[in-house]
Symmetry: C2
Subunit: 355 residues, 2 copies
């Protein structure tokens, strides 16, 4: 199946290696570079390479798995590596990995010699349904997630569902956070199906992966540079990024999807307070998240969370802004929230105060 987004075409299915190989045969790249981490180097790259009869010379660049690789230091090392391997402007970068590899590799390609071509082979559920679609690329700056980046579209995104079998269960579960988010912001019926079918975090079906990509692609097509409705995709991410940054800075990194899951609980709480999300839907929403991610056990320094919340890219003129839900399946962007209200949401999560 092909899903056409504003920019890149997304292909999903068991035939994507052959599709990429056929496309490669029609192109004229000077050299092909693969960016991987140690896991995808071992578990994904061999099967992909085996299918690429049109591939002549190539090089492999490996980074360490984990969010810590989305750093300026790793990026600069990769610039030097491409330079030493004589990558010219007609080179192709193939990113094979999760969101870290696709975000980092996308930004690397977007800025090396002012931009070379790139494609993504997302290997994690999160990268398949979220990170590899929509043209956002970037790196972190210490605890500040995606603080540096660019909007840049790959020439193609190839989603090979069998890669999910290489993932640990917690990584599959983390990807579910973004799929649930798609239901929360845009499709109540889809949310209910996900809630019913995946209480145990088993890998999702190809058709549900496609539905999530479709929802994301539709939103991105309307607003590529995030002037308006694209912000909906940040539901759960204002708090989520802040939690992720605080845990990362403490040397105790949690997965992006895990952070987003907790962030969605906080933002469901704010939705009730600010947009009158009905109590029943609020409870349903929390139950859906907790059935997959378990009961939240949050132990963070509230001050540090707030420092990062204030840096959120959606804020404007010093005011906190959130994406909140007036009802499950519908989102409203740019809802101003006071620091006190945000603190209430944090207390709700920390069970230090009744909801």
């Amino acid at each position: 199946m092909h899903i056409h987004t504003a920019g890149a075409a997304v292909s999903v299915g068991h035939a994507v290696f052959e599709q990429f190989n056929a496309w490669l045969g029609q192109q004229n790249f000077s050299k092909v570079f693969f960016l991987v981490d140690e896991h995808t180097h071992e578990c994904c790259l061999p099967s992909l390479l085996a299918a690429l009869s049109h591939l002549e010379t190539y090089e492999v660049l490996e980074v360490e798995a984990g969010e810590e690789s989305k750093s300026p230091e790793v990026l600069v090392n990769l610039y030097y590596a491409l330079t030493e391997l004589e990558a010219d402007r007609h080179a192709l970068l193939v990113n094979v990995g999760g969101g870290v590899v696709t975000d980092l590799g996308g930004f690397l390609a977007a800025t090396y010699k002012r931009g070379i071509s790139f494609v993504h082979f997302p290997s994690s559920l999160l990268a398949m349904v979220d990170a590899s679609v929509g043209g956002k690329t970037g790196i972190d700056l210490g605890p500040y997630k995606n603080q540096v980046g660019a909007f840049a579209e790959p020439l193609g995104v190839y989603v090979y569902p069998d890669f999910l079998e290489t993932l640990a269960a917690k990584h599959v579960r983390a990807g579910f956070a973004e799929m649930l988010k798609h239901g929360f912001i845009a499709d109540r019926a889809y949310l209910d199906v996900l809630a019913k079918e995946y209480t145990r975090g088993t890998p999702p079906s190809v058709s549900h992966i496609e539905r999530s990509i479709e929802i994301k692609a539709e939103i991105v097509a309307q607003d590529f540079r995030e002037g308006g409705d694209r912000k909906k995709l940040n539901f759960g991410h204002s708090f989520g990024h802040a939690f992720e940054g605080v845990y990362l800075a403490a040397g105790n990194a949690i997965l992006h999807g895990e952070a987003v899951a907790i962030g969605m609980l906080a933002e469901l709480y704010l939705s009730k307070k600010k947009l009158h999300l009905p109590e029943e839907q609020f409870k349903q929403g929390c139950t859906i998240v907790e059935n997959i991610f378990g009961r939240t056990d949050l132990s963070v320094d509230a001050e540090k969370v707030f420092a990062l919340l204030k840096n959120d890219k959606k804020n404007e003129a010093g005011k906190l802004r959130f994406v909140l839900l007036p009802e499950l399946g519908r989102a409203q962007v740019d809802v101003e929230v006071s620091e006190e209200e945000a603190m209430d949401a944090l207390h709700f999560l920390m069970h230090t105060k009744p909801a």
Copy 2:
């Protein structure tokens, strides 16, 4: 005067401070940041600030003058500075400086939080007629000039000719290299006027600054991402960047314009060899360059020059490609040159072999 390019409008003249101030009054930026070096901080920023009645809060970021500031380390420090000063996506960055500040500041703005707005106030002749026009931004990677960057247009370019009075004579002269280049590649009559009027490197008239910006803007408008004719603007730059990189790595930096001047001599030589540039025009061209820049006294390690030449962004599939002139005032892109021919040109420059 306004010159409309593919993207940014370029304003030239004594009224540009007032024009910018009026524009600023119509905008709604969350905060304004000025990027300067120690010279423009002292010599240019005060007069600009004095004219900006619509400016409310602002911050000043200072980098050291010189090509060494176009580095990943300085860039990352600036990302942190913007973060700590709570720059959000609605901030404006005003770059006040020469090509180093406009290239660095442009890339900083293009990638901080995936892009904030920026404008340029070029303070050097080179930045006025070249670096600030056309949307190329970037930093160096060690000796590799502009190895990392992005195409990103400022919202405006404001050329205030009086800034030239703050420049040392050698910096004015360096800027002439790019003006001569505009004549060499696109306008023989303009080249002759420049050759006649500016043998001593006095600051050029406003009308000649405008003519150079026009030539550049016309070429860029046809080919923003440098797929074809925009490469003409690289005349003198294949060798020029290599010389610049070698001197920079040796801790003996020369000005970009000085390097380009020498590069144009080498590429005039190659133009004679490869495109039959008539001997008389070859000599005229060399005389024009040498009247302003003096006789070349090049002492470089040829091996190191070649290592950098091979990395030139215009090369493809391992072959050297140059912009050469079939006649003065007309350029041809993508001329393949063998390493032996390039070595000949280098020997010509080093006076180690007759031309």
